[in-house]
Symmetry: D2
């Protein structure tokens, strides 16, 4: 393949996701043949000291403290939005108007209304766009998609998914601020619904098609927390836990659950699909494995197959090491970049696009509405 | 201990549960010191040939073909009701009136109205009574109860439970008849709700207290099946799958699900409880194990403990073999008999009593009502 | 099937194995159609009080305190030898001479010389004989045998097996006496070699054919223990741990290990076989499961199958409950009796016979010899 | 921390290990604060086209086709030897004489004699040196080391370790050449002993101290293979499988096994240590988990703890993502570089040094000698 074309990245934010995405930009061309090669052109954040430290550590060529300045720069091709949810809308629309490619951290927006405006903006501008629902590209999850698309499961009866954490059980955890803005409803929009269930929903729609209706419940176990910015105890506005029943358009039933109060689970994202002919399940704590049950197997030796997804003929794995050697969490971001750059400008861009992410946003809004009303919400 | 007093059993039914209970009566005194010793006095069923074969195989001393005759016999102390759900009500009330002890297969009744009359009857007659929710007495589940009662979990945030099977996926499975009456709404009252979710609910209430409210969905995937007795295809009236969200009285949230369309799962009854200080989980496919996470463990070596429940200081296990050697499904019935006979006639009879089982029935009725109404039902 | 013929059992011993075998005699005809039905005719032990208590609990019709008296009784058809290893030889030979069927606890004898005399005795007398290597008849192990015999594994390259316990780590555990005669070399002959490795070897030969040669090491970690009978500290003569390398006659390589000093393992008997086309593994702590890897599976979904051995088409399981419901340790003894009684008097009696067990004894002797000499021993 | 000092790397080789090490050089400073920063100065191999492609992909500034030229360059501070085993000796000694730091791929040498000369050379030159036994630095393995050093296991009774693969079962796999030089005894020196057992031994000595004596067996299952360079079928000189019993200096017993004929296992490196107070086990197929059993736990809730090693207080993990998110195989190399650069020039350099690797080489040679002699070899 000819040498890849440079793609100048402007990173907005420097937190956990800023690091994860930047690491992906650094690694992706070492392992994948691509038409583009990300260049770490500029990093941007309001805190000048922090952003300079971040840029120095990762090798960004320059820094900005105002994202509007970043958008004005001609040497920036693409912006990566890694800031709290309440800023996605404004930045993304401005970036679209500036003609930049946009890779936006999930969830897309604070709500469907914002999301629709963002979709309209990227469509009008005709700019490539992506939302970082990275778990689609854990090889075991991608393999699940492949098996379903091949028809190996047959008619699907059941889908179930959880995202369980335990890091906010202590009442001492504050809301707001650098590491805890996800507990502040002003910055996050919602709690586990937008943060965790959104992942479950994105994968579910990708694997099993549209969700038709939901009924939900939410709970806030700790009612007040100190706000990191004011130092004062204020009511907690987010959902600490959320669960919902769903019906998919294809007739299958589903249960979904997410919480930050499941003692013993750090980041246990699980999914399972039961079909007429086969079933599969996966979880993030052993992300390199897929469990697969094929009813077509000879009955005396039928059992769940524990598949170590590390062979060269399994998704993405031919680009890494040798069979038996596992990859980890960070690689899902590398694959996201690889697929995005491979398909950009074609008729079938790598998802999830803004439009795809809007579908997830609609389900999130329906969950929150149902939890209030106590009745089913149609999507 | 002095020799146990004989307790003459009259068994009504000879199916799967008839075998499981009879096996328990045969074994229990070999392994437990008890005040009573079950004697296989009579077995009863309409089909004379079948019941004689059953009685001969297991050593029942006599047979009857009419349960009313059985109840008239003075040499019967206790009756065991192992017939389809639609017969529980009539037989149990008659047995109570005849002054017999009653061990009734689960679920208690077709609905709450029946259950209330049955409770009134045993209360009026003052006869010992029990419903065979056997899973409470898998040693790992009993250990879970013990850990919760000791306060090891602290405040409970989440409860989740499933009962997943896959034996009715084929449209060729008939409804009605000997092995498939559970698919016939006339005989069973409901589908997975009364058959499987009832187990989940009984254990849940036992471990985590009363359920306050539920919202549910049910589905019948195969709409028509041949009826085994008529040979004609008739509409299926049961729920093939059911799921519900719940709030417990103690403020914890729960999700429950049951189906006979989960390819790859034969009898996967699971439960998990997440508390502030610890969590635990269990499943029937490895019933001799309990998973336990203690947040109080030293942080670098904190992890889910995979407890092989086979030590002499764990519930019931001192009565069996030696550490490391597992027991199985049938032993849950032996423990049920052992506990029933140990506590009968005391102020704290071994549950679940008819009254306990009525609480489960109330939740089952609420599930079916909510699935119809689309809104929450209070218990 | 016509009613089974009574088979009068004379049980010698009342310990752990006495209970396990008696339980099997009680249950077997309830679950299997057999030509014979064991009758608990007499139980025998030197301690009159203990044996009367045992007989009363299990329903033995009579007791004896001298095994010679038992052998003289015409109403005893078969004797079950459940006493320490050093008594097997004398009792078995006398029983053979008395024309009794013999079911002898494992290992067969103290050494090969004794074993050869025992084999000669039963052959001369022409009496049915069996040694209780029960693990062959855990359904998952029997299924393993079936898969190997069907040729599913192809050429075998590797066999490995362990039996790990941890109950003698404390120096306070005595040697000799009722529960601890297995630590007394006078009663047991050897330590883990005869007690635990013997199980591994019996199964290995059954599954993979004769063992050709071994090289071994043994160790006694606690050099002195109080003797339960004398109350005095005396040297420990048994092997606390033993491991050996082996070559099978079929060219495969093997490693075997056993110990009572493996902290965390109560009774972890494991085995694994690696063949050209497939592999399988099993362990006693989850005895109802077989792990199976079939290289013929489509490569992207190839993985170890976790087989829950509880279906009606898997060995023995059609006689028990329904799919998904597991059986336990005790059932391996029930199956042993069932197979013994099914095949007794035919040309292919159910093994392991005395002759089969002698082959295992030869390997045990070779292990102990090699551990002393430091060189390979041929079998 | 002040900016790290550049460390100019000269990489010799471009294969699997060349990629793995280079990836580590690229990533390490993004995640660890270090006194040095590797600079990809030159890559070297005989095949000019291949090495230019490799250098271009990874960003090496220049290439060489003769390693002697590389050693002559003043702008090279350190060389990384990633070539077949038969070249380690000559290159390492020349590199030492040229005053370069040396990071050498494992095993150290073809045999002890070569290894001793290499140790002498680096000692004489006083150059920092390292051998890439990377598995020490999987966080779970490093945690195991920490737990043992803290005395949590107490006296160790047993060690066991395996490295099982299945990639050479087919007779069609050639020997010699780029991907298969490990099957050619001329290039590799031995088969699984130097390639796989060497890993097991390095970790074992690190965790449990010196090995005192061994008895071994080896086997070559496929006797002839086509040589990739000549196209002719020639005898296979390597060991396809090897197993040995060992006694450690601390009195513990061990079994080790390695093979490339274990169907179903791609790279299953396992280890387990049983101590008086606690036990631990680990395997490479789930490298982010450590199994830990603490006998000090309250007996009713005692069980193997399944530790997901992803918390900030566990080794290395504070430098990566957040709890619950796993890292993979490649990170063991990043940690190796990080530790090497942190400790270089201090009194306690990060191991394994050449001298440490020589101890492993001595055990490898003893294994091969014992397999020939059939008797025990002392180390």
């Amino acid at each position: 393949m000819s040498d890849p074309k440079p793609l100048n990245i402007g990173m907005i934010g420097y937190g956990f996701m800023g690091r994860a995405h930047t690491n992906a930009y650094c690694k992706v061309n070492h392992f994948f043949d691509l038409p583009y090669k990300p260049v770490l052109k500029a990093a941007c954040a309001r805190n000048e000291e922090k952003i300079k430290e971040f840029a120095n550590n990762w090798g960004y060529e320059s820094t900005e403290t105002d994202w509007r300045k970043l958008l004005e720069r001609d040497d920036i091709d693409a912006v990566d939005i890694c800031v709290p949810n309440n800023l996605h809308h404004e930045i993304a629309i401005a970036a679209a108007e500036a003609g930049k490619w946009i890779m936006c951290e999930k969830p897309l927006a604070m709500n469907v209304a914002e999301g629709e405006e963002m979709c309209a903006a990227v469509e009008k501008a005709g700019v490539p766009n992506l939302v970082w629902y990275n778990y689609r590209r854990c090889p075991a999850v991608t393999l699940a998609k492949q098996l379903i698309d091949e028809g190996r499961l047959g008619r699907v009866f059941h889908y179930r998914s959880q995202f369980l954490q335990d890091w906010t059980i202590s009442e001492e955890v504050p809301q707001g601020g650098a590491g805890t803005w996800r507990l502040d409803v002003e910055a996050a929009g919602s709690g586990v619904t937008g943060d965790l269930l959104a992942h479950c929903i994105d994968t579910a729609i990708w694997l099993n098609g549209p969700i038709a209706s939901v009924t939900a419940m939410t709970e806030t176990f700790v009612k007040e927390r100190v706000h990191a910015e004011t130092g004062e105890k204020t009511p907690v506005g987010i959902d600490d836990a959320a669960a919902f029943l769903a019906r998919f358009a294809n007739g299958s039933l589903a249960i979904f659950e997410s919480t930050r109060y499941a003692r013993g689970h750090k980041a246990l994202y699980t999914l399972e699909v039961n079909g007429e002919k086969a079933s599969l399940s996966w979880d993030l704590h052993d992300l390199h494995r897929l469990q697969y049950f094929d009813h077509g197997d000879d009955s005396v030796v039928r059992g769940w197959r524990n598949i170590h997804v590390s062979d060269g003929d399994q998704p993405y794995m031919g680009n890494w090491w040798v069979p038996g050697l596992q990859i980890g969490y960070e690689h899902s971001f590398v694959h996201t970049v690889a697929d995005f750059l491979t398909h950009v400008g074609t008729d079938s861009p790598a998802g999830p696009t803004f439009q795809d992410a809007l579908e997830t946003q609609k389900v999130c809004d329906a969950i929150l509405a149902s939890a209030k009303s106590g009745s089913w919400s149609n999507i």
